[in-house]
Structures are given as structure tokens and as C-alpha cells.
């Protein structure tokens, strides 16, 4: 069996577990599994740099941050109330019905594209691999401005997070 199928099944099952489990710590741990499965899929698609960044950044920073916040807040397990069941049932039904329509059309439309480069006339030339060297060459050459803007964005997020996290000592609480 193709490893992509196994990885895809792992990703989808753990995603359902993220949504369905009551304990938020269990949801976070299943999110880690989903991120790692996606990293494996990226590696199989030739995106080596992105697979590494997925592990380092998503599984290694974002979910760890989420787990820190969960352990800091020390929340109780979410209790279900009957008022929510209607909304939850409606959401699940609409999601399932959307998938029942979308998945056959997507699979049928794109299913016969093992390598559909001939469809896209703006292809750059021979197929390039997603190695660090190739991504770096593109990132510092053609996408230099978004790269610098992204660094400014990270700086703004850093300042914002620190500012929001500061305990206010001047107001009387």
C-alpha cells in the first residue's frame, strides 16, 4: 500500500480526534500527530524543506505553545449541554453533506492528473525539487519583498504577544 494513503488516513483520523475529543490536551496531542503526518506527506511530495519546517514550526512550536497555554490555564473538560447538541448536529450534518458532494467532484475532476504539467502553460521548465537550495534561491531572488515583510510581521506579532501577555500592575484588580 502506498505510504501516502497510510499517512493521509493518519492525518484525517487524528483531525477527527482533534474535533471530537472532550479533553483539550488530547486534542492537542492528536494535532501533533496530524502535523507529523502532513510533514510525511510533504516529504513524499518532494517538499523536503517544507517537511522540516512543518515539524520544527507547527509540531515543535505552535502545538507546544498551545500545550503551554492549556497547562497554564488548567481547564476542566468541556461539558456538553443539550442546547449545543442541535448546533453540533447541524454542523456535522452540513459538513458531511458538503463532503459527500465535494469529494466525488474533486476526485473525478483531478483524478486523472498524475502529472498534469501540460495543463499549466506557465510552467517554469524542468521540474525542480523542493530542496533548501532551490527554495532559498527563489525566496531571496523573486520573493525577497514578501520575505522581508514576513520578518516585519513576525516582529509585530512578537511585540503584540508580549504586550498582551504583560500583567497590568497599574490598575487595581
Amino acid at each position: 500500500m502506498d505510504p501516502s494513503i497510510i499517512l493521509s488516513a493518519i492525518v484525517l483520523l487524528s483531525a477527527v480526534a482533534v474535533v471530537a475529543l472532550r479533553n483539550p490536551i488530547h486534542s492537542a496531542l492528536n494535532l501533533v500527530v496530524a502535523m507529523l503526518g502532513l510533514a510525511g506527506i510533504y516529504a513524499m511530495l518532494g517538499a523536503h524543506f517544507l517537511a522540516a519546517v512543518q515539524v520544527i514550526l507547527y509540531a515543535g512550536a505552535v502545538v507546544v505553545l498551545i500545550l503551554f497555554v492549556l497547562m497554564l490555564l488548567n481547564l476542566k473538560v468541556e461539558q456538553a449541554s443539550p442546547r449545543d447538541l442541535v448546533i453540533q448536529g447541524l454542523a456535522v450534518v452540513s459538513g458531511v453533506s458538503f463532503l459527500a458532494v465535494a469529494i466525488p467532484s474533486v476526485a473525478q475532476r483531478f483524478g486523472s492528473f498524475p502529472s498534469a504539467r501540460d495543463v499549466f502553460v506557465a510552467a517554469r521548465g524542468p521540474e525542480v525539487e523542493g530542496t533548501v537550495k532551490n527554495i532559498g534561491a527563489l525566496l531571496y531572488d523573486e520573493y525577497l519583498l514578501p520575505f522581508e515583510v514576513a520578518s516585519v510581521l513576525i516582529m509585530a506579532a512578537l511585540v503584540g504577544a508580549v504586550l498582551l501577555g504583560k500583567r497590568r500592575r497599574d490598575t487595581a484588580k
Binding site: 502506498d2 501516502s4 493521509s8 492525518v11 484525517l12 483531525a15 482533534v18 474535533v19 483539550p24 486534542s27 494535532l31 496530524a34 502535523m35 502532513l38 510533504y42 511530495l45 517538499a47 517544507l50 512543518q54 507547527y58 505553545l65 498551545i66 497555554v69 497554564l72 490555564l73 481547564l75 468541556e78 453540533q88 454542523a91 459538513g95 458538503f98 463532503l99 465535494a102 469529494i103 474533486v106 476526485a107 473525478q108 475532476r109 483531478f110 483524478g111 486523472s112 492528473f113 498524475p114 502529472s115 504539467r117 499549466f120 510552467a123 517554469r124 521540474e127 525542480v128 523542493g130 527554495i135 525566496l139 514578501p146 514576513a150 510581521l153 509585530a156 506579532a157 504577544a161 498582551l164
Partner: protein, 100 residues
Amino acid sequence: MMTLGHYLTVATALFTIGAVGVLVRRNAIVMFMCIELMLNAVNLAFVALSKTVGNLDGQIVVFFVMVVAAAEAAVGLAIIISVFRARRSVDTSRTRELRL
């Protein structure tokens, strides 16, 4: 043989699972995790299409989506912590001040 349709199907299913999760869950942090699932579904679609087209533009977009998601994680969790400090709960059904 894995076709593009397979990866796009997984991305669609993952996005829908994340969207249903945002609607179903009340805990703000779990809602944030479902938003991360949706972002990852979009990343998967971009990477699969990048492999199909043959160049790396899709992977550059994924790189920037990851950067934005990390920045959003930092700020969003700081907001959640601030809300928790104010009212001792992250239950979104209890924060009703902005509702009509």
C-alpha cells in the same frame, strides 16, 4: 499511484473537519486548533499543486502561510490568555458582550 485528486481530496476533507470543529467546539483553544487544521489543509493543497505544476511557487506560498500561522498562534493565544485573566473561562458561549 497517487494522483493530484487524492491529495486535493484529503485537503478538502481536512478543511471541512477543521471548519466543523470551529462550529462545534466551545473551547477557544480547541477552536484555534481547528483553525490550524484548516491552514494545514490549504498548505497540503498548495504543495500537491506545486508538485503538479513542477515549480516551487506553491511551496513558497506554503512557507509564508506557515509564517503567518505562527505569528497568529502567538498573538491569538496571548489574546486567549488575556480573556481568561479577565473572566476565568475560555468558554466562547459565555463571552457574549459583542453579540447582538
